[in-house]
């Protein structure tokens, strides 16, 4: 693997909630165009790590670099401006607003002091077409859509400003089988467009279907990562269950050890 600058790098991240230590000295690297699977048991700290990355939580220690430059996001809005988009498990959409308004939530195009409705709906339509989503109309209220379509709207919102990084938190948890398949296709397409993605999931088969690398967290610590092409679900499960920090190997070390 040629040494590239990671587009996102987190070093030595720690975070406590009262007496509970949610993350202890965690590292993470994400390279451009890569799909990284983030796995681990419940309460392993996956979501907390991502919330620290997007600025929803503030870290106690450690640093975050985006394209090699240290950053300090105080809220999700700042990380969005820096090109990090997150798709939340419950999609975080406003049910009372329509598809177009949701895609541009918080970033409505303006003309003077007014919202430029024509531009908003036209661009929303373009994004949805690009995703090949069958949402009837950009004027439809989001709460009347099915779960899969709501997800499509959430993805459309995430990619509408062509960000370099997209983070997906349990994207398949609320989806039907066909909707899951379509989502995985979308992820591969995004990858081809050079978008780096982090996917948090309990379903290893999803990660093995599209991912390049898997990273395992356990009780707030790194316990290893592997290239998807050099490992199998069995090994990952073994790391999830019985991995420790001491025995942790990163993907390249594991590759050398195997040789």
């Amino acid at each position: 693997m040629p040494e590239k600058t990671p587009i996102v790098e987190m070093r030595g991240i720690s975070k406590s909630f009262g007496p509970v230590r949610a993350l202890i000295d965690v590292d993470l690297k994400l390279y451009p165009g890569e799909i990284l699977g983030l796995v681990g048991d419940n309460s392993a700290g996956k979501s907390t790590l991502m919330k620290i990355l997007t600025g929803a939580y503030q870290r106690d220690a450690g640093e975050v670099l985006v394209e090699g430059k240290p950053v300090h996001f105080r809220n999700p809005h700042e990380s969005r401006d820096a090109g990090l988009e997150m798709i939340y498990q419950d999609f975080a959409l406003c049910g009372n607003m329509d598809v177009g308004q949701n895609i541009f939530l918080g970033r409505w195009p303006r003309r003077g002091i007014f919202v430029d409705r024509r531009k908003m709906y036209r661009q929303a339509d373009t994004v949805l077409k690009r995703l090949k989503v069958d949402v009837n109309s950009v004027y439809q209220k989001v709460e009347s859509l099915s779960g899969g379509r709501q997800q499509s709207v959430a993805i459309a919102r995430a990619i509408s400003f062509e960000p370099p990084v997209v983070i997906l938190d349990e994207p398949t948890a609320n989806l039907s089988v066909t909707a899951t398949e379509r989502l995985l296709e979308t992820m591969v397409e995004l990858k081809q467009q050079g978008v780096a993605q982090i996917i948090i999931s309990h379903r290893l088969q999803d990660i093995f279907a599209v991912g390049d690398r898997v990273m395992v967290l356990k009780r707030g610590e790194n316990v290893g990562d592997r290239y998807v092409r050099n490992t199998d679900e069995h090994e990952i499960l073994r790391i999830i269950v019985s991995g420790t920090r001491e025995t942790a190997l990163d993907a390249d070390e594991a590759l050398e050890a195997a040789v």
């Binding site: 909630f17 009262g18 929803a56 809220n75 999700p76 809005h77 969005r80 401006d81 997150m86 939340y88 999609f91 975080a92 959409l93 406003c94 049910g95 009372n96 607003m97 308004q101 939530l105 918080g106 970033r107 409505w108 303006r110 002091i113 007014f114 919202v115 009837n136 109309s137 004027y139 439809q140 209220k141 709460e143 009347s144």
Partner: protein, 755 residues
């Protein structure tokens, strides 16, 4: 095995809070004795405090169940009043004059009916508890005034025949008033019910986490229903105690009691967020709040030296807090009590301060994750999607404000049909417009607040306070009218700021914060003007409430008679013009700018809006301040129009304004609302009020006018109907579901026929 027993019990378990309350109460009583030994020093005073506390204690026992359930019952004061009214009407010889048994039966029935209605509205029909019980408060009050006609009823003579019942209000064998014994019995039963039985455990589970309790097989609906019935029953009991003591009643019975009762329960250690609270605490809280109330109302004997010419005279007087000060303080106490739990106890504020003082390591506060109080999110509006297909008519009917627009037109036509001689005249139209501007102005501000999924119950009170500020400044301080207007607007904005601070910064539910403001602002308003009516403002100021033509004339700009401008300015008033301008501006902001989109997004899903980078705290803050500002403008217009300030200004207006917004397409759960709709809603309310107070001339040539109290009852009913139809017709699409079901059944029948 003895280890667990020797461990020191945590302070909470052995009643640290209750102990503290008791100590505070003793100190307060001593303060009362110090201020006025002539009253508080006697045993009579002690007995009087205990006697009055008994009634509030009984109500607090019932309220504890409701608050632990994470609900609220604002109707207890009205329930007390209504029970007393029904009893008096049935019992008194001046009215029906039936026996004691019948009187008791109907009184208790009336009380329990209110509990039942509250329970059904809140549990089965899913109306938010504060809006359901607030409406019952106003309806109950309207009924009391309507039935008694605002008069006093007395039956001291007849009471002598039924000594066993009226003995409740008398001094008993042990030297205490029997009401205190009754309180002890009720408190004991309440303690056992809440602390030891299944009912109590179900209540705590429901308040702690309703969903989890539901999954665990607890019928949370039944638990909440039960609490409302218990609360109403306790209020009924308190009403009977009051009747037994006074052997008569006034229409003021129970007014404002809900404030004292809720404050008692919260002071007694219950959490407004549910799941916490004890009967002992509530009873002690009631005693404490009643004591505070008494101390505040107590006069301090003072001696003043007055010089009349050469003679110096000593004048004995009682220095007393002006009327209105007491509710203002009580509202403040309630707010502080509500804030104690999340901000002092959970954050370990005292322990941290203590540790810092001693130089010890400061314990970390427990991090409260995210938003403290999450409101109900907006639910499905399938109806709106039908608007995508179909023509103009269909699209119009799918608008959320369609009903309000149609209703406004229909109601106006009804008025024309009832009184063709008078309805369309310039005079009546002018009056309608005036009534409309007040409600309209309040509802413009409220539209933003309600679209944000908050509520502002204080608009009517803030109207009164700002009016009082302007009136006082001009009349007593001789301030320039424009400066006075500025100060009144500042007062309204300040009230809005406090509301916003409490809801946004301190995370209180908006209805609690603004309910406290409801009492505080009205109290302060009455305080400023010392309960009097103020009038005699500069005529320039009064122009705000005049016709446009008068304003033009005043500035020497009289248009030529018979010109279009002349007719127009004769029919329009300054305030109508002002409200129209404000409405257009607010409507454009809400409907077409990013600010409006932010408001709707915040109300629709606050978390999503937060993640999308919308500063939801600022959006909600601004809306609440804007609402306060609108109320202040309404207050200024009010006193300019009437040329005087009356402390009862804006009473019940919060009801009108909320109803206007909901009728006009707003949702009580947030995320919806338009200024045009709210104005149409305000028109509906103004028209209904005008229609109900219309003089109807019957065929026999007699005329009939409905008294104002009954009109208020109707407006309360309309609010409830509006909220219900919003929840069930707009959100749940009840008609659509019925239609689909019918269609399905028809389809099945057809299939059967084919087969």
């Amino acid at each position: 095995m003895s280890a667990p027993l020797t461990r020191r019990l945590p302070l909470e378990l052995i009643g640290g809070w209750e102990g503290g309350l008791f100590a505070f109460m003793v100190l307060l009583y001593l303060a009362g004795v110090y201020i006025n030994p002539g009253f508080f020093g006697t045993t009579d005073a002690f007995a009087a405090v205990m006697r009055d506390a008994a009634r509030f204690g009984v109500m607090a026992v019932g309220m504890t169940f409701v608050i632990v359930n994470k609900d609220l019952d604002l109707s207890v004061g009205s329930t007390l009043g209504l029970v007393a009214t029904v009893f008096s009407i049935v019992f008194a010889e001046t009215h029906i004059g039936a026996g004691l048994g019948a009187a008791l039966f109907f009184a208790i029935l009336a009380g329990l009916m209110i509990g039942l209605i509250n329970g059904v509205l809140v549990t089965m029909l899913q109306v938010p508890s504060f809006i359901a019980t607030l409406t019952m408060l106003f309806i109950g009050r309207g009924l009391v005034l309507g039935i008694t006609g605002g008069k006093t009823i007395s039956f001291a003579g007849k009471a002598r025949d039924h000594e066993w019942f009226f003995a409740i209000g008398e001094r008993g064998a042990l030297g205490f008033n029997n009401q205190i014994l009754l309180l002890i019995v009720v408190a004991l039963v309440g303690m056992i019910l809440l602390g030891k039985t299944r009912w109590g455990y179900e209540t705590y589970a429901t308040g702690g986490n309703e969903m989890a309790a539901g999954y665990a097989g607890i019928s949370t609906r039944r638990a909440r229903m039960r609490a409302y019935l218990l609360s109403a029953f306790c209020a009924t009991l308190a009403g009977l105690m009051m009747i037994a003591q006074d052997k008569g009643m006034t229409s003021q019975y129970g007014q404002g009691n809900e404030l004292i009762v809720i404050a008692s329960v919260i002071v007694g250690g219950a959490s407004i967020l549910g799941g916490r609270g004890r009967v002992v605490g509530s009873v002690l809280g009631a005693a404490l709040v009643v004591l505070i109330d008494k101390v505040l109302r107590e006069g301090v004997p003072t001696t003043r030296i007055v010089r009349i010419g050469e003679v110096e005279m000593q004048v004995q007087a009682m220095a007393q807090l002006p009327p209105g000060a007491v509710p203002a303080f009580l509202g403040m106490i309630m707010l502080m009590a509500v804030l104690i739990e999340p901000w002092v106890i959970r954050r370990k504020l005292l322990q941290r301060a203590w540790a810092r003082l001693r130089g010890r390591p400061v314990p970390r506060p427990v991090e409260i994750g995210g938003i403290a109080i999450v409101g109900t999110q907006t639910r499905g509006t399938v109806a709106a999607d039908r608007a995508l297909k179909g023509g103009l008519v269909r699209r119009f009917f799918a608008r959320r404000d369609a009903a309000a627009l149609i209703l406004a037109v229909v109601l106006w036509l009804v008025g024309l049909w009832l009184r063709p001689d008078f309805w369309a005249s310039i005079d009546n139209t002018f009056n309608l417009m005036l009534a409309f501007t007040e409600v309209g102005l309040l509802s413009i501000g409220l539209t933003f607040v309600i679209a944000n999924a908050d509520i502002d119950l204080s608009v009517g009170a803030v109207l009164a306070m700002s009016g009082a500020v302007a009136a006082f400044m001009m009349r007593n301080m001789g301030v320039d009218p424009w400066l006075a207007v500025l100060m009144a607007l500042s007062a309204g904005a300040l009230a809005g700021c406090i509301n916003a601070l409490m809801t946004v910064r301190f995370g209180l539910p908006a209805f609690v914060a603004t309910l406290a403001m409801f009492y505080m602002a009205r109290g302060i308003g009455a305080w400023i003007v010392a309960g009097r009516q103020l009038s005699g403002f500069p005529e320039v100021f009064n122009l705000i409430g005049r016709k446009l033509i008068e304003a033009l004339r005043h500035f020497g700009l009289t248009p030529a008679p018979d010109s279009l401008l002349f007719t127009l300015s004769a029919a329009l008033s300054v305030q109508t013009l002002f409200v129209a301008c404000l409405a257009v501006a607010a409507g454009i902001v809400l409907g077409y700018t990013p600010i409006g989109q932010k408001v709707l997004a915040t109300g629709g899903n606050r978390r999503a809006a937060d993640y999308a980078g919308i500063n939801t705290a600022r959006v909600r803050f601004t809306s609440l301040v804007f609402s306060g500002l609108c109320a202040a403008m309404a207050g200024v217009i009010y006193i300019a129009f009437f040329r005087s300030f009356n402390p009862a200004a804006g009473q019940l207006r919060e009801l009108d304004a909320i109803a206007a917004v909901i009728i006009g397409g707003g949702s009580i759960f947030g995320g919806y609302g338009s200024v045009l709709g709210s104005l149409a809603g305000a028109a509906v309310i103004a028209l209904i009020r005008a229609l109900l107070s219309l003089q109807i001339i019957t065929a026999e040539g007699r005329s009939f006018v409905m008294p104002q109290h009954w009109v208020n009852v109707f407006v309360g009913l309309i609010l409830i109907i509006a909220v219900l139809s919003d929840i069930w017709l707009r959100q749940q699409d009840l008609f659509g579901r019925l239609r689909r079901r019918v269609r399905k059944r028809l389809g099945l029948a057809r299939k059967d026929a084919h087969a």
